[in-house]
């Protein structure tokens, strides 16, 4: 079989599409799950202004080390675990049999972590992670405070005299406050919005990196992006990301289905927000105040769209999607055909309003002019025929009460009788009605 030039072109295009689909961020990795995440790793030494060891003293065969912690950033930690190891003296090891692990806030004179734990010490030349017991529910370390920890007892028969300073003991602060997340605040999922100027992204425990919003007409073609350099200590939360380009919608402004996702790319970790699906409709209400505070003014001049038409509800039915490349291609064609027929045969809201106005005008012409006008006026007058009010009183209140035993049954009987006669009349009217004339 010989392929034409066009066939080669489409095959090449398909191969490129598959390649880019495979390389899209969607397939890179999943979001972080809950658990312990290293927040900072520090090396303790006497010269470190924030974290330092005071050294280890002899205590018989043991050598007790003490740790002072002060830090200026971040503003706080929820300390759930502390890990450390020693690396210089390979014969030292950690002994878990002794009282230790007293974390004391010398600024506020409070004990943050009790002095006992079920630490699992490891062997030579390694370390352990001390997990804060759940009964303690973690310990908050605040920047500017000074913490003291009688942390470990070392047994080092070869050490001899105290090593002061001891060397490079590393400490890692862990936190499981909650996993870092990033989410797209605006547009919200499933919403319909006019074109806007800024994306709004919120973060939780996020790290510094490049914060992007990728978007496109399908989940597999989110190739457009807007990016800022993000720092949790500099940027506000939520953070506004300027959208560089207007969003596309075709003439007559049938709402266009868009997909967007926020991505935070750090030095070693990439966070993805859930994919947000939204519609762009120039006639949709403006963003709410809660989000527009972070928004610049919406685009005021957007070409290529009629500003007075929308098909919001039918368009939502044109939403075929597929997880496969070819399936999505077919779904895109389905969506296009669906949108085209919706556009052709379903009047949009302004068109419906126009038809309604014209019908009302037409009805007004008929109902206010002779001869039908007289019938309409008589009908209105007949509608006003009802039990009114009168100054003439046939029965006073006293008489009504006096005659109630007589009048009330008659009144009730007459009511039932009238409705019964109506039903009888209706039955006979229908029974003798000639539907063929």
């Amino acid at each position: 079989m010989k392929l034409s030039k066009h066939s080669y072109f489409w095959l090449g295009l398909t191969a490129l599409s598959v390649l880019f689909t495979g390389l899209s961020p969607l397939s890179a990795s999943a979001n972080l799950t809950a658990g312990y995440y290293p927040q900072a790793t520090v090396t303790a030494s006497v010269s470190d202004p924030q974290y330092y060891w005071t050294g280890c003293g002899d205590n018989g065969p043991y050598k007790q080390c003490e740790l002072y912690i002060t830090f200026t950033s971040p503003s706080s930690f929820l300390l759930t675990a502390i890990g450390f190891y020693q690396s210089l003296n390979t014969s030292a090891y950690f002994n878990s049999s002794l009282n230790r692990n007293l974390l004391y806030d010398t600024t506020s004179n409070t004990v943050l972590i009790g002095n006992d734990c079920n630490c699992s010490d490891s062997g030579i030349n390694s370390g352990y992670i001390y997990t804060v017991p759940t009964s303690v529910s973690g310990a908050y370390l605040t920047a500017g405070h000074s913490y003291y920890m009688n942390m470990a007892m070392f047994y080092d028969p070869t050490m001899g005299t105290d090593p002061v300073p001891y060397g490079s003991l590393s400490m890692t602060l862990f936190s499981n406050v909650s996993p870092a997340t990033v989410s797209l605040n605006y547009p919200t999922n499933g919403s319909t919005t006019p074109d806007f100027s800024n994306w709004v992204v919120s973060t939780v425990n996020a790290f510094a990196g490049n914060l992007s919003v990728v978007y496109g007409l399908s989940t597999s073609t989110m190739t457009s992006s807007d990016t800022i350099t993000y720092s949790p200590f500099v940027n506000t939360n939520p953070v506004a990301i300027t959208k560089a380009l207007p969003l596309f919608y075709p003439p007559l402004a049938i709402p266009v289905h868009y997909f967007a996702q926020a991505i935070l790319t750090g030095s070693s970790t990439v966070l993805f927000s859930p994919i947000t699906s939204f519609y762009v409709d120039p006639n949709a209400p403006a963003p709410p105040a809660s989000t527009s505070t972070n928004l610049a003014a919406p685009y005021s001049t957007i070409s290529g769209g009629e500003t007075s038409s929308t098909i919001a509800v039918p368009a939502t039915n044109c939403n075929a999607t597929s997880s496969s490349f070819w399936g999505q291609t077919v779904a895109d064609v389905q969506n296009g055909v669906c949108l085209a027929f919706t556009y052709l045969f379903i009047p949009n809201t302004p068109q419906q309003a126009d038809i309604s106005t014209r019908f009302n005008t037409l009805s007004g012409h008929i109902s206010s002019k002779p001869p039908l006008g007289y019938f309409v006026l008589m009908k209105n007058d007949l509608n006003s025929l009802a039990v009114g009010t009168s100054s003439v009183v046939l029965l006073t209140a006293t008489a009504t009460t006096a005659f109630a035993p007589v009048i009330s049954p008659i009144y009730t009987g007459a009511t039932y009788l009238l409705w019964f006669l109506f039903a009888l009349w209706l039955f006979n009217r229908i029974r003798h009605f000639n539907f063929q004339s």
Binding site: L362, L385, G388, V392, L394, L418
Partner: protein
């Protein structure tokens, strides 16, 4: 788009046919007719204490609705029979 334009054409056509009617002055009734109904309503109020006039009016309204429906049915049926090949 297509259904919209078809509807607009139909409305415009009917509007064109009604152009002579639009030239007529608006229909008006003698205002005494309206006040007469109010007077009748007052009489009904007097009688309503011993006889269910309000029920009687509701039944009469129901009768009028049924008769109006039958009348409309006959008009439509008559129009349909005017279509060629339909007898």
């Amino acid at each position: 788009m297509i259904s919209y334009f078809i509807t607009i054409i139909l409305i415009s056509l009917i509007d064109l046919l009604l152009a002579p009617i639009r030239l007529l002055p608006d229909a008006t009734l003698n205002p005494n007719i309206g006040s007469a109904f109010s007077v009748v309503g007052g009489y009904f109020a007097v009688m309503n204490s011993i006889f269910p006039i309000d029920t009687l009016l509701a039944v009469l309204a129901a009768v009028l609705i049924v008769e109006g429906g039958i009348f409309l049915y006959k008009i439509i049926y008559w129009l349909i029979k005017k279509i060629p090949t339909i007898s």
